[in-house]
Symmetry: C2
Subunit: 701 residues, 2 copies
């Protein structure tokens, strides 16, 4: 299929279904296109003919000249297929289908959409929609939507939305909040073009400084990550992904699977791709404004400048809440502030100039703070001052902020008394916020973007020989032959994991008591004994594990105990004996395949309480150093590996290697749905680790 | 001292330091008082005399008539003490000191404030301030502040603030957001009257429907809880408490102490008192608006009504996020919706009427939803509609909402296109929100308030005999005699806890190997051996504990091992022997004394990882059933007690009783700073629990 360039800069646009009746969408589209100031050729088409905005309405597409290369279709749904064909015949290979009534409206509509899709494919057409509000580019300019005028102000924020209603709402929101859009696209049913296709073109747009997204789902997760990574190198990306609550938890066979779920996968995928995830649309655009108007800070140290104590404490709380740091002002800075400010003022951070602070004080103190090398960003807070107008303060601040070269967020707390000041700042492209907390959240994202750029995102694999891959493939075949998927027998699981370089204590099958006792003597004590049954997910639940068997006698007693328990279970074929691991820290490492994004990895506190404690983190496979750092920092299991009280520093690198190998295994063998070592005992630094229990599941349960 | 009534309804007010110079605060106060429409007598005083707002300025307070009973003092700080004396002489026993320059400004100011305090005490005066903006009552009406006019609109929200600047900012904020205040007080340095004093009078005010608070700290935590509990029975209370990040962690000797900290104490105290804690001022007033304008819902089932899919999903996410529940609509409701709505609309919750929805559709569908018995609250979402004005929708909704009797929150997403609709709703006292998420958070609080009213808050104690109290008192004496406080010897700790009904395995001291082995034979095996040293907080850190000693020989070996380890430690006097507890669930129970609020209790996952995992909850002592329910629900340790996989249901009541007893001990013996049983092994239901290790600390470390 063709490229998308024409959507972003068409030579000419025809509105197919343009209407002179003001209540029709076909009128709205024509009106907005004309009003947008679009500089290419504009044509209208409607079998009824007529004149619209001083232009003739053509009766058929064939009447339209050659310079038209983009069609905007607003005809009733039933006419869309033939319209597509007519467009193709005229050489129009790019269309936006605004019309609704397709797959979103039921079965009939879905069939119609399929018909359109076939035509588009056959003719090599690219299609945005159907059931969308189309595209806006405020700089080109161009507006193919029907939404209420005026068009959004020209700005630096691009917006890709799965919801047309949200697109319209956010355009109006932006108008009130004083920021503009560079580009906006509403993708509707995504019959062809989807969010992933738009990422790089939007990020490449010269007028765009940040790309925002409202997402309801993603079709091809791996393609999304690939494109988002490219786009994130060019511009910051922010997304709201809704449907957290309805995210279907897959039926799971392991802790890893049970804890995974769609929303965790989106988190991991966004982290991998470098997409900042906002919880709400409001938050997303607050962050976007910051990205659009400020440079990235060098660090996370914030100075707070205020004229009252309370808001200063609020801001300091927000600094901690968002993982930033209160700057420690230099002696020189504090000296200068002391000279400038009255008695009783606080020259420590947060700097409280007292209620008497004039616009000049604000400007002067901001200048002093900004040149301190210990300050990376500044938050200026101005509750309605009793003696001066907020506007005067805003004006005084503006000159300083322009010259500083460090991010500054401003919060004029209040409403009517500060409205003009806020508007003034917006016009100057200075990010301002209703409350200090909102501004601090946005500063934190700005810092995070800088951190993202420093991450070690090299994707790591491990070398395995062909034998290992063959073992895995054979296990897959074995399972798929017998049934629609399920557990791999524990011994084979162990062999595959070993071949992939994972530290796993070997299982030895004993089918009789005699076998068990002679095997035990051979292996040496202490030993672990497990009931040998293929599909037993949580062995400890049924008491199917015996630990610390110290003698032949205990092994024999154990054999009897387990076989008695196993009597009523299916497929029991004896017991496994395994050397008992020495003491160490118990962790879990695992892999699970997400339906959208593919393989993910898990690390956390191991044992039987994994799900209950939830002390785990996820990341995408393949593994990276950055993921490892995140997992260590964000779990207690990870922090503990560095040593804590009675815990000696443990062999982190063994955990690291295990996750790299698990990632490789998941990539090599797409049929593996879940795999998990729990617990894996991590020994002291340099002494490795030992996977005590492992399970692996092929296909879906 | 006298009562506070005069502050809320004075017969007459004198502004002392009233000024004709417009830039002076003394002018601002006079202006606001006149403009407020205050109906009592108004007098001005200033040695310079003159005329102000057609009233004479008196030269001295003695010139002022008898009907004046409230003084507002705006004279320079140095003149405040003599002004107080003059007021007292004239019978004015209630004053607001607006003037700043007292304890907030340094040492000199602090001395001056002390002088004022002495005078006030001697004369039996009640004082608000100094360094405050004073009081507003919009219904009386009265305004003693100097802030920029106009006075806030009359409303139903009362506001108590520790920050005058935030008071001024929020008055302006309220104006822009379309809500009003009933009363507002800024308390400044709280030389006399503080937030606690204001709680009940504010809650009793007939015009107030909800009391909001901005708090920087609390002087007397126990009094606050007492008064807040009274006030919360009358009206909902909401607080923002800042200083979370700077909350000093006390140096702690136990896990309980280390995890406590000031912010946890505020959380626990607010929960006990029934105060809703908001994170930001914006959030607080969004909730307050909901409380002011809506009845409490019967349950937590929310129906969402929208004209577009995206915002519906956003709202559903918010329902889950805030612990509410999506209502399952009845078949009848869905039938009626189906009849009313076009094909392609969703009649399941969230109900999506599609973009064509008219104001009539909004009103009609809301009516259908509201009469469904499965619906407790409704969230209506209206992005700018393409075909109708937002105002028409707002008007159509209003008539329905007025008649429903269930809480309805409305979100017109957007800005300019929906501004008139939002203003209209505010005038009708219908809570409306910029984004559905904000409205959902407020609905959740409304539900929470209803839940609070159902809580079993009976404060539970346990009967202990005098012997137990004496034991505790003796331990206190012992420690206080020797040093400034510290650990109670483990054996004595055990005796005290036993006497208080806590299940604790007795420690038997053995000062020699001979003693150890004969004691061991007497007690029976298996045994635990611990190094006997008084101030050893984390014994396992130094390897000072041996578990599972099965024989006399192991005891003798153990004795040698521990004494070798103990050689370099101070105060080692042998080993303790203790019967080894059977297996069960390991929890921690503890008590810690907060500097502001007094005794708190802790429960959670026990063992050595307590702090790292942080699976714990706090509550105030004495204990209540409601606290227990919260602790069980909010910790994995608590949920697990009900039974999970290999964990049999455990003896919850033993945990409950332990916490009741610990609470009693903390209340009886105020010198106990920290006390903790960790681990406490909880056996199967009905089989009790056993505290394996205990520590207790007296006074400050």
């Amino acid at each position: 299929m063709g490229q998308l360039d024409v959507f972003f800069n068409p030579d000419g646009i025809v509105v197919i279904g343009a209407s002179t009746q003001k209540e029709k969408l076909g009128y709205g589209v024509a009106r907005n296109l004309i009003n947008s100031g679009y500089k290419g050729k504009i044509a209208f088409m409607n079998p009824k003919r007529g004149i619209l905005f001083d232009l003739p309405i053509h009766q058929s597409i064939s009447e339209i000249g050659e310079e038209i290369d983009l069609g905007v279709i607003v005809v009733p749904p039933a006419f869309v297929p033939e319209t597509l064909t007519a467009c193709a015949r005229q050489g129009i290979k790019h269309v936006v289908i605004v019309t609704g009534g397709f797959s979103e409206a039921g079965e009939e509509g879905a069939k119609l959409e399929q018909a359109c899709k076939r035509i588009a494919k056959k003719e090599g057409m690219r299609v945005i929609g159907p059931n969308c509000i189309g595209m806006i580019d405020t700089h080109l300019p161009m507006d193919t939507t029907f939404i209420q005028p005026p068009m959004p102000e020209a700005g630096e924020i691009a917006f890709i939305t799965h919801s047309g209603a949200l697109g319209a709402a956010m355009i109006d929101w932006a108008r009130g909040e004083g920021f503009g859009f560079s580009r906006l696209v509403s993708l509707g049913n995504q019959m062809d073009v989807n969010e992933t296709d738009m990422l790089v073109p939007f990020a490449e747009d010269a007028h765009t400084k940040v790309v925002t997204m409202y997402l309801e789902g993603i079709q091809d997760g791996e393609a999304f990550i690939r494109q988002a990574k490219k786009a994130a190198k060019l511009k910051p990306l922010i997304a709201v992904k809704v449907g957290r609550s309805t995210a279907g938890q897959q039926a799971a066979a392991s802790h890893t699977g049970a804890l995974a779920g769609e929303d965790r996968a989106f988190d991991a995928a966004f982290r991998r791709a470098g997409v900042h995830r906002a919880r709400t649309a409001e938050e997303m655009f607050q962050w976007a404004k910051m990205f659009a108007w400020c440079e990235l800070p060098k660090g996370k140290r914030v100075a707070v400048l205020t004229n009252a104590g309370g808001p200063g404490v609020m801001a300091a709380d927000a600094v901690a809440y968002h993982g930033l740091q209160m700057a420690e002002l230099s002696a020189e800075t504090m000296g200068e502030l002391t000279n400038r400010l009255p008695n009783g003022a606080s020259v420590h951070n947060p700097v409280d100039m007292l209620a008497s602070a004039s616009p000049k004080d604000y400007a002067g103190c901001l200048q002093i703070l900004a040149k301190d090398e210990n300050v990376d960003m500044v938050m200026v807070i101005a509750p309605p001052p009793p003696m001066f107008t907020a506007l005067a303060t805003a004006e005084a601040l503006t000159a300083v902020i322009a010259a500083i070269g460090k991010p500054v967020a401003v919060s004029f707390m209040g409403s009517r008394l500060v409205e003009d000041a806020r508007q003034y700042l917006r016009q100057q492209h200075i990010p301002e916020f209703r409350f200090p907390e909102d501004g601090m959240a946005a500063l934190a994202m700005l810092w995070q973007e800088g951190e993202n750029k420093k991450r070690d995102m090299e994707e790591l694999g491990c070398q395995v020989d062909e034998g290992a891959k063959k073992l895995a493939a054979k296990a897959v075949e074995m399972r798929l032959e017998n049934q629609s998927g399920g557990f791999v027998p524990p011994q084979i699981t162990g062999e595959i994991l070993s071949a992939y370089g994972l530290p796993i204590e070997k299982l030895h099958l004993a089918a009789s008591m005699q076998e068990a006792s002679s095997l035990a003597d051979q292996l040496g004590y202490p030993l672990v004994m497990k009931l040998a049954a293929d599909d037993l997910s949580h062995k400890s639940d049924v008491g199917g594990i015996l630990l610390n068997l110290q003698s032949r006698k205990m092994v024999e007693q154990g054999y009897q105990t387990l076989m008695t328990k196993g009597r009523e279970l299916p497929g029991v074929k004896g017991v496994y004996l395994q050397r008992m691991a020495k003491k160490g820290q118990e962790v879990i490492v695992g892999g699970v395949r997400d339906a959208v994004f593919g393989p993910m990895l898990l690390f956390g506190s191991g044992g039987v309480d994994v799900e209950g404690l939830g002390d785990v983190g996820f990341c995408m496979a393949p593994f990276t150093r950055n993921d490892f750092d995140d997992l260590l920092a964000n779990t207690w299991a990870g922090r503990k590996l560095a040593g804590f009280r009675q815990y000696a520093p443990a062999d982190k690198e063994a955990v690291y290697k295990a996750l790299v190998c698990l990632g490789q295994l998941m990539l090599d063998t797409p049929e593996i749905q879940e795999v998990e070592l729990n617990p894996m005992i991590v020994f002291e630094a340099g002494k490795g680790a030992s996977g005590v229990d492992a399970r692996m599941m092929i296909g879906r349960k």
